[in-house]
Symmetry: C2
Subunit: 767 residues, 2 copies
């Protein structure tokens, strides 16, 4: 116990040192103002509790040779996590300049929250972490994601009582209903009940103890309350790990969790300026704020740091004493060096079937229809079958709705709660994780990927906005990792967004929002990829590409409703490899400059573009039309902006520099302008897309409401191509009439007219 206390004091000392000190790390002399950082940035409040848990968990690891990682939920645990990594030696292994001696300690202190140094949170730069302590709410779902398919792993997860107020965290306690006793590891939640957030008490600290216990029991855990005492913590951990063992053996249904009630800022200054600090919100950030200018505070800091008795903790060279080093587990058992927390080290490529085997046969383009996601489902089925322990499919209860049901031929939905005889495809070992929480799906998948596995998140397009903020944080994590050589690449996070804006026939306006793409493109080009495959074969090709990729966020937008097959498999591969290209069979500009370019991205816009072109070919046969389809949206950006960006010369060749371009887009039109504004022909570009018009109506009525329909596109062409004459003017009027008629038809009969629903491309051979 004494060595645990020594370790804890060392970690606390190192934490305070990081927040305050530029120099004099071992306090060889009394602190002077010049030893103090000019800007005091960091957070003390949560740190001693984090250090306390880490110290005690290390004992358990050593005694049980336990495979364990540590997730730091509280926002500002940076100094703690860095201190442990340094004490365990892994910091020096990753950053050889930060040696385990006095110069190393000085550098360790100086770099924290310092220009050119390290961030104040637990960040990608921190060894042993898969969880950024910035935005709060995702600790538990990350922890469960790490535990899935790691049967011997325990993920210790400290949940701050501030974080516990967030929605995503509140929901994710229920992750235990998705945990398989045999196949999965265990999460040990530790609710750090220090009572305060930034400036307020926390809810869970101010409800009666019996309510708190009921809440935790209602979540399905066995709570253990621990006060600020080494003895209590040690004995409770022993009980908890016995319970975990009993659970793994099957003799216990519920898993334990720990409620650790300590003062916020524990062991820090008791009182500053006559106001209580330890045990209140005032210790949240930097308890002594005027150390450099105020001799009294400087003395308080000096006394505070010396209260940890550094002379007992570090030897003359600044190295941790042997007693402390001996409390540390060895090698990869160190939580700061556990390979699960640098998942790329464990990553194995997926065993992928040949996606070409799932190809839809296409004899003539645009003459038959397929549900693209249904075909993708077959591919995913076999991915799951071939990778029974390293791939999971997540979705908020929409896997079947998104027509990926083929996966249920080989697996079930993960479900460890009660089952009834009428249930279908529910099992603890199921590989499809469905819960009505996009936050949990995203958090689980992030945790799963960051520990070296693979997966895919399928979601209704509109509601992926629910995890905008989580996407942002994950993208930032990846962006930061690109600069950290020891962070090995992990599998990309791939979204399949289906049930998209154009086919919300059942749901209407609230389900229509294609704006996630706008959020995505703001992140660094080095991590984001966006694909809009227009048919089944292109979706297969894109999916295969995404499943092989590393360190990206891939967004695939694809329909679940039947769409026309446009590409043979071979053509689809070529098209997806180029990312965009001319549809020669639809174009009439063979080997010449076109009069107009009709571009499209997304399945429904592509269909309407083709239908418009068929009208133009019939009615204005002299008009030279080029049809360009875009699969890889990032191709539209200049090559200087995105690695997938098309060089200007190629863009100009494809889109021309002086002809009108009518771009029919799946999403909000401004995104296309945003991506192309630097292109030569941008002034000629006219974009159609979703403009926030919609309700529960027919698919074609949706197109008309937003002017992306075939008739309006023909009108757009006539309005923009000069010198088309009276025939075109007459056609324009007919198109306008056709819109009115189509609208009247749907309002009369409640569905789209048969000629709209059954439209296919009028190949010469078939006409």
């Amino acid at each position: 116990m004494e060595s645990i206390d020594a370790y804890w004091r060392a970690a606390n000392y190192l934490s305070v040192g990081q927040i305050y000190l530029l120099d004099n790390p071992l306090l060889r002399e009394p602190l002077r103002p010049e030893h103090i950082k000019p800007r005091l940035l960091g957070h003390w409040g949560t740190t001693p509790g984090l250090n306390f848990c880490f110290a005690h968990l290390n004992r358990v690891i050593r005694e049980r040779d336990q495979d364990m990682i540590y997730i730091v939920g509280p926002g500002h645990g940076g100094p703690a996590a860095v201190a442990h990594s340094w004490l365990e030696g892994s910091y020096t292994e990753r950053y050889p300049d930060i040696t385990q001696d006095e110069p190393g300690m000085r550098a360790l202190f100086r770099q924290f929250s310092f220009p050119g140094g390290i961030p104040s949170h637990v960040a990608p730069e921190t060894p042993g972490s898969i969880h950024e302590g910035g935005e709060l709410g995702y600790a538990l779902s990350h922890a469960y994601g790490a535990a899935f398919d790691n049967p011997d792993l325990v993920v210790a997860c400290v949940v701050g009582d501030g974080e516990a107020e967030t929605g995503p965290l509140a929901a994710s306690w229920h992750s235990n209903k998705f945990l398989d006793r045999e196949r999965d590891g265990v999460v040990l939640p530790i609710l750090s009940l220090n009572g305060y957030k930034i400036a307020n008490p926390t809810v869970l600290a101010r409800i009666p103890d019996d309510e708190l216990f009921k809440l935790i029991e209602g979540y399905g855990y066995r709570p253990h309350l621990v006060g600020p005492s080494h003895e209590e913590m040690a004995s409770t951990l022993d009980v908890a790990f016995e319970q975990i063992a009993a659970y793994k053996e099957g003799s216990e249904r519920r898993l334990p969790m720990i409620i650790l009630r300590t003062p916020k800022g524990w062991t820090g200054p008791k009182e500053v300026n006559g106001l209580p600090v330890e045990g209140t919100w005032r210790s949240h950030q930097v308890p002594l704020t005027a150390v450099r200018d105020n001799p009294e505070q400087l003395a308080m800091l000096d006394a505070w740091m010396r209260s940890y008795r550094p002379e007992e903790l570090f030897d003359a060279t600044g190295r941790p004493m042997l007693a402390i080093r001996e409390t540390v587990p060895r090698g990869e058992r160190r939580m700061s060096a556990n390979p699960h927390a640098n998942g790329g080290e464990l990553l194995r490529p997926l065993r992928l079937p040949d996606f070409r085997d799932y190809a839809v046969e296409v004899k003539l383009p645009a003459t038959q229809s397929t549900e693209p996601t249904r075909v993708m489902g077959s591919l995913l089925r076999d991915v799951i079958e071939r990778n029974p322990r390293t791939f999971r499919l997540m979705g908020p209860d929409e896997t079947a709705s998104n027509r990926l049901s083929a996966v249920f031929e080989v697996t079930d939905r993960t479900w460890a709660a009660e089952r009834l005889p009428t249930d279908e495809h529910l099992a603890p070992a199921g590989r499809v994780m469905e819960v009505l929480s996009e936050h949990m799906c995203q958090g689980w998948l992030e945790g799963y990927l960051l520990t070296g596995r693979h997966g895919l998140f399928n979601c209704y397009e509109a509601f992926i906005h629910i995890v905008d903020a989580m996407f942002n944080q994950h993208a930032k994590w990846l962006e930061a990792c690109h600069k950290i050589p020891w962070r090995r690449p992990v599998a990309s996070l791939t979204y399949l967004l289906s049930s998209h804006v154009w086919r919300q026939d059942h749901n209407g306006f609230s389900h229509q929002d294609p704006g996630f793409l706008d959020v995505v493109v703001n992140k660094k080009a080095s991590v984001v990829r966006v694909y809009l495959p227009p048919d089944a074969n292109t979706l297969l090709s894109v999916t295969d590409h995404c499943l092989r990729s590393r360190d990206y966020v891939n967004v695939i937008v694809a329909g679940k409703q039947p769409v026309l097959d446009l590409f043979t498999m071979q053509e689809a591969i070529a098209h997806c490899t180029r990312g965009l290209g001319i549809l020669p069979w639809a174009s009439t500009d063979a080997h010449t400059e076109p009069d107009v370019v009709l571009a499209c991205a997304g399945d429904v816009p592509t269909l309407e573009t083709l239908a418009a072109v068929s009208i133009l070919r019939e009615e204005l046969p002299e008009l030279k039309v080029r049809v360009v389809n875009v699969v890889d949206l990032m191709r539209l950006q200049p090559s200087s902006e995105h690695p997938h960006g098309l060089p200007d010369s190629e863009f100009d060749t494809l889109f021309t520099t002086d002809r009108p371009i009518i771009f029919n887009f799946h999403g909000y039109p401004m995104l296309i302008h945003q991506l192309t504004y630097r292109r030569t022909g941008h002034a000629n570009l006219h974009v159609r897309g979703y403009k926030e018009e919609g309700t529960t109506t027919t698919p074609f009525d949706m197109c008309m409401l937003n002017d992306i329909d075939r008739y309006h596109l023909v009108m757009d062409v006539i309005d923009r191509v000069p010198g088309l004459g009276s025939k075109a003017a007459h056609l324009r009027q007919r198109m306008s009439d056709a819109r009115l008629q189509a609208r009247a038809y749907t309002r009369m009969y409640g569905e789209d007219a048969p000629e709209i629903r059954s439209w296919t491309w009028p190949h010469a051979s078939s006409s």
Copy 2:
């Protein structure tokens, strides 16, 4: 009880009719295929439970003359809510064409989920609703928002067991810790435990009853389990309302809630194609899907609808029987006609102090600094004081951090849980609502605004992305309301985003994301407004404007750190009224065409722009520089796109059509291109902004990391203005060196150089 059952059967009958029937609404003849809609769109599963609750609550309203509104959490309750409004007569009052007779019933059935008709969800079009049943998770927070400051109101809130899995819903049970017994009303949650979501069982339906009870008790409620029985529901409601009365009297601490366990699709088809439907997920949507083509299913539908005994429910004209009409409350006591659910009817303008009284005195522009949000805090303090029951300030524990602490001079934080002697500014009647859940803040505020009150949400800029999806839904609600004449305007939802991307000194990369603006501008121009006041006086003017506005979402981005005061109050008003304008004292192009335009939006970019201009004036005095500051971002859009859009001629005059424009922007640079791509001079526009570079570092280092700093701006000018000669080339080199030096300084000393930190505008008089 019999009349309740009759009402319930009538509502069920009307619900089924809406989903299926085009004609023959009273089943005067056996159903024929042509009576059936061609596309069957709607959701039956949750409907009978919703109808059941509504019927029983109506009895309570009548017996107790209870003021009550009804919030339908389950996603697809549209048919239910519409049925009640029609039965209560309010539908016909709002939509006179939908009469309470057979033709009206036919029209009611036909319009549902039909082109030109009404959406399938509970939508703004539905009388009596403040809650769209599209995206799930916000029912309870909306309910609490409605209950605040309505002491006599009971908000009955049906929570679907699917929705209950979402994060926002899981967290918002704890809203009861923020409810004041005296000043607020009561929320009665009814957990509709029908067991299934789209294709899965629900978590709460598959945990042991004792765990479910503990969970609810842990949330602080008294749960009552009710089975599918009129008697149980009626007696339990009587008990619950006695408990509510006891709570209001102070003799009871906890409020009741009801767990209603019924089969999903209750009273619908028991079995279809040999598979169980009632009581399973198969009744989620349309239980009989082939009615039009399959005579057997047609007969089943006929039998199903007749099982409600329509002949006992509607008279020969199709009007509800007297016995049913008599179960309905009168006038505004009808939940479908309660004015709280059309909050604009109750809205009174805020009593606003004169914002000019809070002005910062500015003698010379850019020579003194103020913390803008601190000044705004004084204004908000007096808004709170003058509107003690109709204005609330929401924030995720960041009100003090965002420097709005002046509000605590007159009020406290809302807190109804335990309080300790060391607490400060906590009280049940506090007007500042802080919980570490952006979802709850947003949900409470939406519920508060939609019931006719006012408020403001202050948040860290990066983390407002957490509620992107909620913003989307609220904006869509407002967009839809603009087309509904009887929906009266409500107060705008105003965000103050502070602790913004440029000043995350403590937090770093994870806290840096200015992309909420990109999400906002995708919504309709008729509802979104974005302001970036660069100093305290402009912030005051903008705040006053936003607090007076109606039916918008206003986003204000403003700093909490000291920034230079640029405008006197009078100038600020003029500047904000114009939305953008030249800073004459900084510009050197008096009455001529400038050589270059330096534009800026946001406090930090404006400061750097001014500092750059001061260098240019000193070093290249012959260069004619125009400085344009943009407060109202929507001014950049063409007037055809946004009501605030600047006409092209004025834009051209201001920004020129042929001179380089260096635009220093607060957010992601592409947003400015997106807003201005149609402007004449767009090709000359070069935008600087946040490009995902950052860490925990100094403010000026952050600027340099993203090239928005003064030195880089000077370099940008030199690179883009032709013919500046060798002096400029030399200056460019010095700027490049200055950047290196500034960087080296921060890395040496941990703070920005004094001349950077203390820079002010070098007015001639002071030099």
